[in-house]
Symmetry: C2
Subunit: 460 residues, 2 copies
Amino acid sequence: MSARVLVVDDVLANVKLLQERLTAEYFEVMTASSGEEALAAAGKMAPDIVLLDVMMPGMDGFEVCRRLRADLRTQHIPVILITSLESPADRVQGLEAGADDFLTKPIDDVALLARVRSLVRLKMITDELRSRSATGERMGIVEPLLFADINVDSRARILLIDDRPYSVERLKAVVSDVHDIEAVADLDQALLRASSGEFDMAIVSLTLSGADGLRLCSHLRSVEGTRTLPILVLSEPEDSKRLARALDIGVNDYLVRPIERNELLARVRTQLRHRRYAEQLRADVERSMKLAVTDELTGLHNRRYMESHLTTHIDTAIDTNKSLSILLFDLDYFKSVNDTHGHEAGDIVLTQIGGIVTDNIRGSDLGCRYGGEEFVVIMPGRSLRTAREVADRLRSVVEATEFEIPNGAEPLKITISIGVAALQGPDDTPLSLLRRADRALYLAKDGGRNQVIVEADKAA
Amino acid sequence: MSARVLVVDDVLANVKLLQERLTAEYFEVMTASSGEEALAAAGKMAPDIVLLDVMMPGMDGFEVCRRLRADLRTQHIPVILITSLESPADRVQGLEAGADDFLTKPIDDVALLARVRSLVRLKMITDELRSRSATGERMGIVEPLLFADINVDSRARILLIDDRPYSVERLKAVVSDVHDIEAVADLDQALLRASSGEFDMAIVSLTLSGADGLRLCSHLRSVEGTRTLPILVLSEPEDSKRLARALDIGVNDYLVRPIERNELLARVRTQLRHRRYAEQLRADVERSMKLAVTDELTGLHNRRYMESHLTTHIDTAIDTNKSLSILLFDLDYFKSVNDTHGHEAGDIVLTQIGGIVTDNIRGSDLGCRYGGEEFVVIMPGRSLRTAREVADRLRSVVEATEFEIPNGAEPLKITISIGVAALQGPDDTPLSLLRRADRALYLAKDGGRNQVIVEADKAA
């Protein structure tokens, strides 16, 4: 995949060198020769990745990295820091500033391309997610998500796959202060545990005795349940070829042994931040969609949802030869609540009714606000008889409730009238079922309200 | 990126050979030895790509491909057909059956890996989109999208980048029956035209005189506006190395000269189908989100949207020192409509009021249903005086409208009362602004209804 790379270095020769290598691989290269220039270029030209020299006069690479991360426009762009030093303390500082990876001068071509490609590939997927989420932001449904605000301090669950007892003990000792870590040595066991969905991240040793760590990584990447699980691999200094392969397969990060405590923790933290950021973006999109089928006032499903799902539930009930019942109810003399106490009081009552419905139906039942003061409950698998019991309970809970309204007024007493109907056969439609429930509801109203009427049950 | 590959061939030796090569590259391989087995495996194990032999006893590869495309669970999985023949007619048949690409036996390693990688990379992004859209399907907001239902028969706009006059003429002659095609020879001009957003697809000759077609492709892939534009490249038979590089950069498909008319059209069609499928998935997600901020009955913005955007508009008006006005109106004696003619008639009136609002405000004004029979119009940039004119117009249009209701009843006459308020200074909040409009509305009601009252204008 081609991509736009921003190269930042105050030494022109270094810029030229990287530019040449990347251009030869058909990347598009933009350049900057100071921190200030880099920030301006990143904000305006939206590169896909930034290669950032640490040692620059004026603003150094760490500071540039921090500022990129703090800006909504650039916070998601992967940053690779380029250092002439090779000390774990520098790397920790870089990771804490928000860097995703490091390259040490002189830069090795294979390492450079493997890292750039790996980060760009992951960014493409996050970009698709971000663009969905941005729609929600424009519409005011979700808040803009700041990378820096992602909570990375809560404990994570980490799966360690390593078969050298000494290494396992050492890693456990380092990580377990901050996170929960579980170690497995056996590969089949590792796959089983990883796919349990219990973990936030996997750490995989590439130097397993009698097993191929790369194979394990590739398996984790290929299976749906672990496709997006962050993988950090541990490798030996002489194993840079396998490391490049690991990045190619899709591992997210790596450490070369001997492993330095703070660098390990910082890298774990970086991966957790990326994972939680992506999870949050996904959740934002799902939440926006959920709002489309939720009644704002009561939190129940709205009419749109009810109508779409009643059809599905009727079809399923007919196909599987199971029961399906519905309740249709409305509030007695609700108009007088609005008239006497105002719309606000009416809204508060409706909200409380929503709560009573939610508390008195099963998880598989669907509580819906049909509109105004009308509610529907769809009960898959329930017979007319059970539905009547639910209706009786709802009716009596509402009757027993004191509805608190603001402005010091006395709590209100409210009652509801309910019509109950059940699927009678394959010819039933959402409309016919709702009409029968509506007729029963009318009889309940006509008979004095605060009561449950079950439709004339032809099948009985 | 690792991925799961399903290899289908009735000859065990062929299966083994492909399995070995792909496994060495750390792909996960599943195998099937007949069409029936392949369909079962694809449905159950969700591979990321299918390598499918054409010539098999029983169900041949074309038929397997067609069936994969017709099944909601497998329709999105890329298929590479493996043939021992090399005739354009076979390729056209394969493309029409839904194949994405072809490999000819004996299979060249470089070609195999380049194609598998390229298709897998694109699938990763589509998968992310599909999973968002699937949420909408579960909630009943969007319909499941069938790949086979994508309309590929409407004319598309294609940009051809080629500098050989004879080739351009020939390609134009072939394509222009079915699509609109525009040719450019100059590279700068090509980039400019491509980024105009007017095209559905680009066809790029890799053998330009004095320019590098690959560089152009990489540029199209790197720039936001053309990142997802399908690119079909045209290459020379001896140029397979550059072709592999082109796939690596992210081009979607290719043709080797001399170009066969039907194959070109079939490949264009395949790319258009993929593009329109992805566009439809994106649109479905956006539409679901839009529903979350839309009032079902009137199609206006709902309260959630109004509240979120009023804040934003007030902030913007204060920052830019511009006016901002709002109308708050409700329907006079609306309760009697519901009481006399039923809720259904009331809903029909509210819907018509929504239409009147939409027709009588600017595109930049926001018409919102605040709840019940109350409406709000937010008017960025409008002074109190202009807002009053809009209010007067709305009031008189409503007064002049005959509201048709069902059941043969006489058309209803409806009036509205409107309160108008404008931003007074940096201390204003959504609440203070709405309260002032509400007080004006109260005066309008109190003064006899069917009138517009503007708040006491301190600034005047």
